[in-house]
């Protein structure tokens, strides 16, 4: 009996599964591990030492000083801009997508199917394909190079509408809605008092994905913004890295932005997403499972 239990524990299938998982952890985890370790190393160490050498506090401190002292801490302005665009864009996308998904899921009205299809099409259309029309539209409205312009463009999040639609059409208990209706709730109250409190996981999930998309958005910000005081982190850091020649073969300048600073900049862009994911993972997990089981 005991040997059979042991045999089942160490079966070939389990071995293959764990081997595949270990491979995936190494394959995807090692570059990230290298990134975080390399952020502590000097330029000389990056060239000479083995890839997974841990740097020194002095090297990290110097890199941090070089990056943050550039142009009167301009990176701080870019980080603040990124936060403004992200918060504004997330709020706008939530305001648009959660009621939109709710209406599409629980209401019958002419054109509902067409809107659903349009949402799907907008979802699968590459964002780069619509950037130029958005640029021309914003230019017409005089919103290029403004916070409002990028927030308005970022608030367009059809994936959020679709997620909300799936959630409300599968996970909202019909009985609770009927009871509320019998108790005298109108449509607006049904949404605000019943559906919305129950939809916290999907609100968190949409907010998370929307934040992820806006925080790391390069192309839209690149096209809509030409004033470097309004850049977000991805565009600002790209301008800084490209201009300093840190990664190209034209390093002929005294700008103290070299490879360690570029690595630290990459960590700065990734870190908020990582922290928000860790904080929000309970909601994200429950949100991703919503609608998986009907009833």
């Amino acid at each position: 009996m005991a040997s059979r239990t042991l045999q089942s524990r160490f079966s070939l299938g389990r071995f293959v599964v764990f081997a595949a998982l270990a491979f995936a952890v190494c394959f995807y985890g090692i570059p990230l591990l290298w990134l975080f370790m390399a952020g502590t190393r000097s330029e000389a160490s990056l060239f000479s030492d083995t890839p997974f050498t841990i740097g020194s506090w002095a090297a990290f401190s110097q890199t941090w000083t070089n990056l943050t002292s550039y142009n009167n801490f301009q990176i701080g302005t870019w980080a603040a801009n990124s936060a403004i665009y992200s918060v504004g864009g997330v709020l706008l996308s939530l305001v648009a997508s959660i009621p939109g998904g709710y209406a599409l899921a629980l209401s019958e009205f002419p054109g509902r199917k067409l809107i659903l299809i349009m949402t799907m099409i907008a979802m699968i259309t590459p964002s780069t394909a619509v950037v130029l029309p958005i640029f021309l539209e914003m230019n017409l409205l005089g919103l290029n190079n403004t916070y409002a312009g990028l927030i308005l463009a970022s608030g367009f999040f059809p994936f959020g509408v679709y997620l909300a639609y799936v959630y409300f059409s599968t996970s909202l208990p019909k009985g609770v809605m009927d009871s509320a209706r019998v108790d005298g709730c109108n449509r607006f109250e049904l949404f605000t008092r019943i559906a919305l409190p129950l939809a916290r996981p999907i609100v968190a999930l949409v907010a998370f994905f929307s934040f992820l998309a806006i925080w790391s958005n390069y192309f839209l910000a690149f096209v809509l913004l030409s004033d470097d005081k309004l850049y977000n982190l991805p565009v600002g850091l790209t301008a800084l890295v490209s201009g300093s020649g840190a990664l190209s073969n034209l390093p002929a300048n005294d700008v103290p932005i070299k490879k360690p600073e570029v690595i630290l900049a990459a960590i700065i862009v990734v870190l908020p997403v990582l922290l928000i994911f860790i904080v929000a993972q309970r909601f994200v997990r429950s949100g991703t499972l919503s609608g998986a089981e009907k009833g």
Binding site: E43, A44, L46, F47, S48, Y70, N71, F135, L136, N139, N144, N145, F222, V223, S226, D227, D228, T238, A239, L240, V241, S242, G243, S244, N249, L250, P251, A252, N253, D254, V255, I257
Partner: protein, 422 residues
């Protein structure tokens, strides 16, 4: 009557004051500037030293400049009045019918000032005989060497490519390298060093390029590179890659051909050669040449918007940035403007890091050998070299064997970009 006179006089005085105020207001000009990061302090200095002009400086990633300019021109807003062009190809790309941005400076910059630049210094700014920008810095290739190591090895610094190849044949098998064969620009520099017609403009014929890689002037340098790769004296890794850097740090690179900025910005900080080691020598020449013909690797330029509302101020900014001696004295790289370069060179002459005090003299002495074919094109020859030759070498191919494919690639690129090919 008296009252009327007084009133008229007061009104006239007010009108004059208003006109004067208006004139003053008109004198105050704001220009939009697009700069890269290293040039920011220079533009800021202009802003501080010119009361009548305010510069609104924006940092733009050099690689994104063309795309951003095209967007701004499409939107007809936020178009910069002055731009720093970090890639010499941008001049040609921004003076086409579709991307017609650059101002023609031919008659706007006095000929006397143009003559103060080193020979061919402004070649990257000339498109079809017109001057569209002013060059900020020179970047021609020269010989950099480890003086104590060369002395220890008992070798003389080569002055010709034949001597360079012979040195490689002696030192390569012993594990020494004399440069890289796979980085596009050094390879480009070798291939055109004897006057190979590798997409060279034809004088007097607008938008016409000569592309002929079948001549001895092309095959000879190609064969030299192949021989040096075979004996190991030219590395199959780029000069910025860790493997090459480790060779340079461990005394295995006695000599390398590199641009003027290589000493200060690559050998000193990255190869970390000790003080009193690095020396420079004139560019190499082929036996059939009377004097060297040296290619360049970099060198930015300043250009202006042809439809700017303030053309005089734009020209002034461009001239000041490229030729103001006080400004260029603190520039990071060798100024293309000769009087500025002489002032700039004082600190290099006093730098005890170099083994010899003549590094600056070598830099400016070799400037007159700059290749006249280092011009702005609407396509990148170095990208074509990287695509055809470098990738081919990775698969065991040779430079000589790749020349026909490179000829085809360059011809296609030239035609696609509207050039007539001879």
């Amino acid at each position: 009557m008296h009252k009327l006179k007084t009133t008229t006089a007061v009104a006239g005085g007010l009108a004059l004051a208003m006109m004067a105020g208006g004139a003053l207001a008109q004198d105050q000009v704001t220009l939009n500037i697009w700069s890269d990061t290293p040039r920011l302090s220079m533009f800021e200095l202009y802003d501080q030293t010119h009361d009548n002009v305010t510069l609104n400086v924006t940092t733009v990633a050099p690689a994104d400049l063309i795309a951003k300019l095209q967007l701004a021109m499409q939107a007809k807003s936020e178009i910069p009045d002055v731009v720093f062009l970090s890639d010499i190809g941008y001049t040609a790309q921004l003076s086409t019918r579709r991307s017609n941005y650059l101002m023609d400076l031919t008659d706007k910059v006095p000929q006397a000032l143009q003559d103060e630049f080193y020979p061919n210094g402004n070649s990257p700014c000339e498109v079809n005989g017109k001057l569209y920008c002013l060059r900020n810095d020179l970047a021609h290739m020269m010989v950099w060497y480890d003086k104590p190591l060369m002395e220890k090895l008992g070798k003389a610094v080569p002055t010709t490519y034949a001597e360079f190849e012979a040195l490689g044949a002696e030192l390569g098998p012993e594990g020494y390298v004399l440069g890289s064969a796979v980085e596009a620009f050094p390879l480009y520099s070798f291939l055109v060093s004897d006057g190979c017609d590798m997409a060279m403009p034809v004088e007097g014929k607008p938008d016409t390029l000569k592309i002929d890689l079948t001549t001895d002037k092309c095959t000879k340098p190609a064969a030299m590179v192949d021989a040096m790769v075979a004996n190991g004296s030219l590395a199959k890794v780029g000069p910025f890659e860790p493997d090459f850097v480790n060779l340079a740090k461990t005394g295995k690179v006695p000599l390398i051909i590199g641009p003027t900025w290589f000493g200060e910005y690559v050998i000193k900080p990255t190869y970390e050669w000790p003080e009193g080691t690095l020396a420079a020598a004139m560019p190499l020449k082929w036996d059939d040449q009377d004097q060297p013909l040296t290619w360049s690797w970099g060198g930015g330029t300043y250009g202006g918007w042809k439809d700017t509302a303030h053309p005089d101020e734009v020209v002034d900014v461009i001239e000041w940035m490229a030729t103001d001696v006080a400004n260029q004295t603190d520039a990071v790289t060798l100024p293309a403007h000769e009087p500025s370069a002489i002032a700039w060179g004082a600190k290099l002459k006093a730098d005890s890091y170099y083994a010899d005090a003549d590094v600056f003299d070598v830099e400016v002495g070799s400037a007159k050998y700059s290749h006249p074919g280092y011009v702005s094109l609407r396509f990148s020859v170095s990208d074509a070299i990287a695509k055809v030759i470098t990738q081919g070498m990775g698969g065991g191919g040779t430079v000589l064997g790749a020349l026909p494919a490179l000829q085809t690639e360059l011809t296609n690129l030239a035609k696609l970009n509207g050039y007539t090919v001879e």
